[in-house]
């Protein structure tokens, strides 16, 4: 069995230390979970292994021999296959081509061998149990979950030299439970062939299920590597955060305010007709399998897609475009932070302030002091790890980018808070902070609608959960006492 060892890895970005003597070992035939808070340095370590970033110092050996890294080609020769955290796809190309982006296209007579390209893609998708995805369809037409499955399948493509190590940085962050199950099966199959899997996730249950060993990083340093049998959830959290965490979900506070949002006969892109109401101070969860319309619902509410129907916010008709909706007091966290949320090269403060500029200015002039104050306060509330308000968002870790989007939605106590996968990629401790913030906001009268593929999150956070099935609400269940299994069953049931 091959064994990879990284030791004493240091990586600095200007004054900031992303990795501070990080260490890791990875053996063939194991699933090794790499854990740590947002910004702990997991992705940076992986990017160094992939040759996308170079370490300031440190040593990497494969079976005792020094391994030269520094370019993606070298990493490939060393037998690594990567699935990076941020979603890099070419929306205009087909699924099959997207899967071949980082490898040579199959050729015949010096031309692309299209049939072979497609069959290779179909095979890999089948191996992942994702045959419902058409390899010929255009990548941009797929939902977030399916895009992720395509990217995972791309790592499984067989192009002759089988890799021995698969490195996956938060593969399940955008997946539903059923989709994740397919990934777990594929991982088990890889492991059985003697391959190693380095696995990053903030979902504790799947780590406890999959991992043979668990390495925890904190502030770029190696804290501990333990066998799964020798550790448990609380120990891992303590290693990660240095603090104890007991209850993840804050207590529900009974609420029955007047209705904040009334929706009648909403229709939008395959969704509806839907009718429901959300009360002030209520948290309404939205569950549904992929294709159930869950992806469209919040977009329709914020007015990002064309819609029909009668929507009223506290008795006033709701604007059908994002600008009008924000102005009326809606706030929205989009599901795809990279493409829909952040302005990667611009200062993080600008992304936070953007929807609130009208409130932060006088006579059209932006008031710098007021803006800076707001940004500072919100960054503290979500415990943002950044070097300062002017840091470009692209430099933040994935989870911290997500916190920026969440922070921005909190500003000024919105009337309605629309959250689509609000904790995607956020670490356990920070999730707790976010849940508490959502609860506090609800207690002050905000109505919250949260769509999530994370079932425990939905159950723990919501007061009621609306189940979407084929574009309709099949039932609305009280979340109290609901089990994951029951919720999942409900998702599969047609209208009762």
């Amino acid at each position: 069995m091959p064994e990879l060892r990284l030791s004493g890895i240091v990586k600095t970005f200007g004054p900031a230390r992303a990795l501070d003597r990080a260490a890791l070992s990875l053996r063939g035939g194991e699933v090794h979970a790499l854990m740590g808070e947002n910004g702990a340095g997991k992705s940076t370590l992986i990017r160094i292994l992939a040759g996308l970033e170079s370490a300031d110092s440190g040593e990497v050996t494969l079976d005792g021999a020094l391994l030269r890294l520094g370019s993606p080609d070298l990493a490939k020769t060393a037998g690594f296959q990567f699935l990076h955290q941020e979603n890099h796809v070419v929306p205009a190309l087909s699924v099959a081509e997207n899967m071949h982006l980082s490898r040579p296209y199959p050729q015949r007579f010096g031309l692309v061998h299209w049939t072979k390209l497609r069959t290779a893609a179909v095979d890999a998708l089948g191996q992942l149990g994702a045959s419902h995805i058409d390899a010929r369809s255009v990548m941009g037409s797929l939902g977030a979950g399916d895009q992720m499955l395509v990217r995972i399948a791309a790592t499984l493509l067989d192009d002759g030299d089988a890799p021995w190590a698969y490195v996956m940085d938060e593969p399940t962050a955008a997946l539903s439970g059923a989709e994740a199950e397919r990934l777990f099966k594929a991982i088990a199959a890889l492991k059985a062939t003697g391959a190693a899997i380095l696995y990053v996730s903030h979902r504790m249950d799947e780590v406890m299920r999959l991992a043979d060993r668990i390495t925890v990083l904190r502030d770029g340093a190696h804290v501990a590597t333990r066998d799964r049998a020798a550790t448990n959830r609380d120990k891992i959290i303590r290693d990660m955060t240095g603090r104890d965490m007991t209850d993840l979900f804050p207590r529900h506070t009974a609420t029955s305010g007047p209705p904040a949002l009334l929706v009648r006969d909403l229709r939008a892109g395959g969704l509806g007709p839907l009718s429901f109401a959300v009360a002030e101070g209520e948290i309404l969860g939205v569950a549904g399998l992929s294709g159930s319309g869950r992806e469209v619902l919040l977009r329709a509410l914020i007015g990002a897609v064309t819609r029909a129907g009668d929507l009223q916010l506290r008795g006033v008709p709701l604007a059908a475009n994002p600008a009008g909706a924000w102005a009326q007091g809606l706030a929205y966290v989009p599901p795809e932070r990279r493409t829909e949320g952040v302005m990667p090269r611009r200062a993080l403060a600008e992304t936070i302030a953007l929807p609130h500029l009208a409130r932060l200015s006088r006579l059209g002039f932006v008031q710098r002091r007021k803006t800076a104050g707001l940004v500072r306060r919100l960054a503290q509330d979500v415990r943002l790890k950044a070097s300062g308000p002017d840091q470009p968002i692209a430099e933040l870790s994935g989870g911290n980018q997500q916190k920026v989007l969440f922070a921005r939605a909190l500003a000024g106590d919105p009337a309605i808070l629309l959250l689509d996968e609000p904790t995607r990629g956020v670490d356990v401790g920070a999730k707790f902070d976010i849940y508490t913030l959502i609860r506090d906001l609800a207690a002050r009268g905000t109505a919250v609608i949260v769509a999530s593929s994370d079932l425990p999150e939905l159950i723990g956070l919501s007061d009621r959960i609306a189940i979407l099935n084929a574009g309709r609400i099949s039932q609305i269940l009280p979340a109290d006492g609901l089990t994951e299994a029951a919720l999942l069953t409900a998702c599969y049931q047609k209208e009762s």
């Binding site: 200007g14 990017r47 996308l52 990002a304 994002p322 929205y332 990667p344 992304t351 500029l357 002039f365």
Partner: protein
């Protein structure tokens, strides 16, 4: 050191160019008179480049500004020739710029044509219109009212220096006012910050409540007006108008914005950087002319220096890869 160079390399380069001419032309280059002269020569370019920055902030650009400057110049001149009062003729010429800009904006933001294609087409149209309006001839002499031609020769007396009266040229003043205005709008108003957000990620901006289509449209209108104003300034300076006299402004203006971008910390367009870019190009032109460098050689040199600056900044930035 590397990061210092990356951040300030362009500014140092610009300063080096000035120092070079200072040494090469000890008597004539670093004089107040020469600089006032340069500022007047550059005033039209500054207006075009600075208003071009407004669309470039969103990641768009406008190829039609040169043709629009020509068009507005001949429109004003033709109206003068018809005997219309100067203010009316100027208002109409500016309105042509506004309408042309709005047309660009509609094509780009409402219909969704790429700015390159849309403004390439309108550039051709504006240029054709300029020929139509002027009948293909230069309008000059008695057709141009004296007060209009005098404007470019007038200025704000600043005092005396070395026995000569020093005058800030009126065109320089106009360029300065436009620059200040656009700088304030882009850096300090909601409007400007939203344009920058669109440039950062248009989809994200829309979902965050920015009216992307309207803002894009209005920004093109802004640029069209700027081009028209520059065309009027040009006509005043040469006391005549012909259907191609503004055409050269477009490429130089875009080059100036790009040159300026190399001097900013984040590599994005910015009004003051644009002005620095214009001044660099203008200084090179002025200095090389004074050194009696052949005008074709001058073109090659200017192009090479733009490429050099942009390459250095691109190499410096390669390190900052997106994740």
């Amino acid at each position: 050191m590397a990061s210092f160079l990356r951040h300030y390399g362009s500014l140092i380069g610009m300063a080096a160019i000035v120092v070079f001419f200072w040494i090469a032309l000890p008597d004539t280059f670093m004089t107040l008179r020469n600089w006032l002269n340069i500022s007047q020569q550059l005033s039209m370019l500054i207006v075009v480049a600075v208003t071009m920055t407004v669309v470039m902030v969103m990641g768009d650009f406008d190829l039609s500004v040169g043709a629009m400057a020509s068009l507005s110049g001949v429109v004003a001149a033709v109206l003068f020739a018809q005997g219309l009062p100067v203010p009316v003729a100027l208002a109409v010429a500016l309105a042509v710029g506004l309408l042309g800009g709005i047309a660009n904006g509609v094509l780009v933001s409402l219909i969704g044509i790429l700015p390159f294609v849309a403004t390439l087409a309108t550039m051709t149209m504006f240029s054709g219109a300029a020929f139509l309006v002027s009948g293909g001839k230069t309008i000059f002499g008695r057709d141009i009212p004296q007060e209009f031609a005098d404007f470019a020769r007038s200025g704000l007396p600043l005092g005396t220096w070395g026995g000569n009266l020093v005058v800030l040229p009126a065109l320089t003043l106009v360029a300065a006012v436009v620059t200040l205005l656009v700088w304030i709008v882009l850096e300090h108003t909601i409007y400007g910050r939203r344009l920058y957000a669109i440039g950062g990620n248009a989809d994200a901006a829309r979902l965050a409540g920015v009216k992307v289509a309207q803002l894009r449209l209005s920004a093109f209108a802004f640029t069209g007006m700027g081009a028209a104003l520059a065309g009027i300034m040009y006509a005043s300076r040469v006391a005549s108008a012909n259907p191609v006299q503004g055409d050269g402004l477009m490429l130089t203006a875009i080059a100036a914005v790009f040159l300026g971008m190399t001097a900013t910390r984040d590599g994005q367009p910015n009004v003051l950087a644009t002005v620095a870019g214009v001044v660099t190009l203008g200084v090179m032109d002025n200095g090389l002319t004074q050194l009696q460098v052949d005008s074709y050689v001058r073109q090659v040199l200017v192009g090479a220096i733009i490429l050099l600056a942009v390459s250095i900044s691109a190499l410096g930035r390669r390190a900052i890869r997106l994740r």
